[in-house]
């Protein structure tokens, strides 16, 4: 590991931040320059996250410890700010990088012109997301949450209009209140344990005096509420569908990972602090996650069946996805962690693609033709372009645009519903398999959870089929909308990645299980953070 690759750890935060600052200096009319800068930044992010990912995988396959730390300002670990790269954080970084690139590409087709400073906000959002995935202490988690939220307020309101401002007002108010809860939780934890560094906190929990334990648990509970609001757990997630459906499609596609930040935080903090059986409160809050997650799936399923627009349908799919993740996490950790992570990646990619598709399909339904010159459609083998000419048997020639949209839509629906053979099925199957293998006697709550997961898949299938028949099959004499390459390519790319997840399910699952095991290996994490070497140790110290 050279010196430059150590500096790489901070790059996922610095690159978008610097590019975002640069964009603010440019005049609003210099559209091309802005697009070029943010294209470079998003591509760099993909590259950096891939390099970090590769570094972890190569080290991990040799059996070497993969957790690497970066001391910002070179202060030793519990006192200064520490960034941590491990299996889980590189996975999330890579996911963010991919979603950032595809959403950016989609935005260049038309949406970045809908209002000022789209790209600056977009990059700021990426910086906040990457920071939240990298940070190793709770207060910086709060700061990066605020960075990504502040950017998301801007992105949410991008394009303006009554619906967005109305939804935005709710979104901003709820999140400001949530941030206050986050602060209360973090300060209670600080008051009881005397540290906010996650690794340091994990070592100090057994030493917390009995009298302060209730305070600490209250702090953790309040912090958990703040995370679960982000994840959209019932009854904290009523804001989610209306907010996401009001946002512009590229923003909503990026927001697909925003709700996963809450899940990530729960995974990181709760597994590190409460996973061990010898901690004074093993599996703290696990039941809340289980039953809350199950209620979330039920709420999402009912909402999905009642949804009348595609974007609300996508919003409720996000809720179902969050609910499934939370409930599976709460049910019993070790056995299902790998499957949970697989589901997280697969469903995030599918939901992001779905948000992008939704707008294309709805545009075609309303016949709203984009004014600019269109590119020819892309030819991707699995979305069914070959059905463009159907031998006249049915008497209607299906136009290529509709075929692509319909194919992509069906693909997304299969992914979200979890039908074979796509990655959604593999993920759900692995979760259910893990749940069934938990114990000799399977608890009633586990059966309920399995039933809910399967039922939510069925409901997704019903809802998407109904919407698909309505919007895609129904003949319309409206002018044929044209699809631009910049709009079709991101969707194709995301779906191609999902396809790759299915084809390479073996190695991917292997990686996810390694990640799951690394999350169980608290000692390793604590040791790497506590023993992080300073770049320039002061004189007189070894």
């Amino acid at each position: 590991m050279g010196a430059w690759s150590d500096q790489l750890i901070v790059a996922p935060i610095l690159v978008p931040l610097a590019a975002s600052g640069l964009l603010l200096l440019l005049e609003e009319r210099q559209k091309t320059a802005k697009r070029v800068i943010s294209a470079v930044a998003t591509l760099l992010l993909v590259l950096i996250s891939f390099l970090l990912f590769q570094g972890v995988v190569t080290a991990g396959m040799d059996g070497a410890p993969v957790t690497r730390t970066y001391l910002v300002g070179d202060w030793p670990a519990p006192f200064g700010i520490v960034l941590v790269v491990d299996w889980l954080s590189v996975l999330m970084l890579t996911l963010t990088g991919i979603l950032g690139f595809t959403s950016f590409l989609y935005a260049t087709a038309r949406w970045d012109a809908a209002g000022p400073r789209f790209h600056a906000l977009f990059l700021l959002q990426l910086a906040g997301l990457n920071g939240a995935f990298l940070t190793g202490d709770l207060f910086n988690l709060f700061v990066f949450f605020e960075v990504l939220l502040a950017a998301s307020y801007g992105l949410m309101l991008h394009g303006s209009g009554e619906a967005r401002v109305k939804a935005g007002l709710h979104y901003v108010s709820i999140n400001v209140a949530t941030s206050l809860l986050f602060l209360i939780g973090a300060s209670l934890i600080y008051g009881a344990a005397g540290t906010l560094n996650m690794a340091d906190l994990a070592t100090r929990i057994p030493a917390i005096p009995r009298s302060d334990l209730a305070l600490f648990q209250a702090g953790m509970g309040i912090l958990g509420i703040a995370f679960l609001v982000k994840a959209g757990m019932w009854p904290l997630g009523f804001w989610l569908p209306s907010t996401y459906s009001a946002a512009t499609p590229p923003a909503a596609a990026l927001f697909a990972i925003l709700s996963k930040v809450g899940i990530y935080a729960v995974l990181r903090v709760y597994l590190l602090l409460f996973g061990t059986t010898d901690s004074p409160m093993p599996n703290f809050g696990g039941e809340w996650l289980l039953y809350g997650g199950m209620a979330t799936i039920a709420f999402g399923t009912i909402g999905l069946l009642a949804a009348r627009t595609l974007s609300r349908l996508a919003g409720f799919s996000i809720i179902i996805s969050s609910g499934t993740l939370l409930a599976a996490l709460g049910s019993g950790e070790g056995a299902v962690l790998g499957a949970v992570l697989f589901y997280l990646v697969s469903s995030t990619l599918a939901l992001s693609a779905f948000y992008l598709l939704v707008e294309l399909v709805e545009r075609q339904e309303t016949g709203l033709v984009p004014s600019a010159v269109a590119e020819p459609v892309f030819d991707d083998e699995y979305v069914g372009t070959q059905s463009a000419i159907d031998d006249g048997e049915v008497g209607i020639v299906i136009p290529a645009t509709v075929a692509i949209l319909g194919g992509g839509f069906a693909f997304c629906a299969l992914l979200l519903a979890g039908l074979p053979p796509l990655s959604g099925f593999i993920a759900k199957f692995a979760i259910i398999d893990g749940l069934l293998g938990l114990d000799e006697r399977i608890a009633a709550s586990t059966w309920t959870l399995i039933a809910l997961i399967i039922l939510s898949g069925l409901a997704t299938l019903i809802a998407t089929t109904r919407a698909g028949i309505d919007l895609i099959w129904a003949p319309s004499d409206k002018p044929q909308p044209v699809l631009r390459i910049a709009e079709a390519a991101p969707v194709g790319l995301l779906l191609a990645i999902c396809l790759a997840l299915m084809i390479f399910a073996g190695p991917v699952m292997n990686y996810m299980e390694r990640t799951g095991r690394s999350l169980e290996d608290r000692e390793g994490y604590i040791r790497s953070v506590a023993g992080a070497a300073r770049a320039h140790p002061p004189a007189g110290q070894p």
Partner: protein, 113 residues
């Protein structure tokens, strides 16, 4: 001193919670501001209350922890103040936009029937 601070935090929180549950956007903003004051005081209190103790070691001063007040909550409060201030400003802009677009200051953008 503890009881005064606790009462202040309690009253601010109570008023803030009541206000954010009100139907007018301006009340919500004032409520959120009051809540953020309460939270800032609360963070401060979590570093234990001390009077007349400096948070940083002065030049040539002693580094005896018992003579100093915990500096970390003060740094946290500083960050929290800046962030909540910025968010309140943003929320004000959204409030004005909402008022302009919907013609009402109700949080749902329309008057209840």
């Amino acid at each position: 001193m503890e009881i005064v601070l606790a009462l202040a935090i309690g009253i601010l929180t109570g008023s803030g919670v009541w206000l954010i549950l009100r139907p007018r956007t301006f009340q919500v903003i004032v409520g959120l501001s009051l809540l953020s004051y309460a939270v800032n005081l609360f963070i401060y209190a979590m570093g234990r209350l001390r009077v007349d103790a400096p948070p940083v070691v002065g030049r040539g001063g002693s580094a005896d922890p018992s003579q100093l007040v915990d500096p970390l909550p003060q740094a946290l409060v500083l960050t929290a103040i800046v962030i909540s201030f910025a968010m309140t400003a943003l929320l004000l802009v959204v409030l004005l936009a909402s008022r302009g677009l919907t013609g009402t200051d109700h949080v749902d953008g329309k008057e209840p029937d």
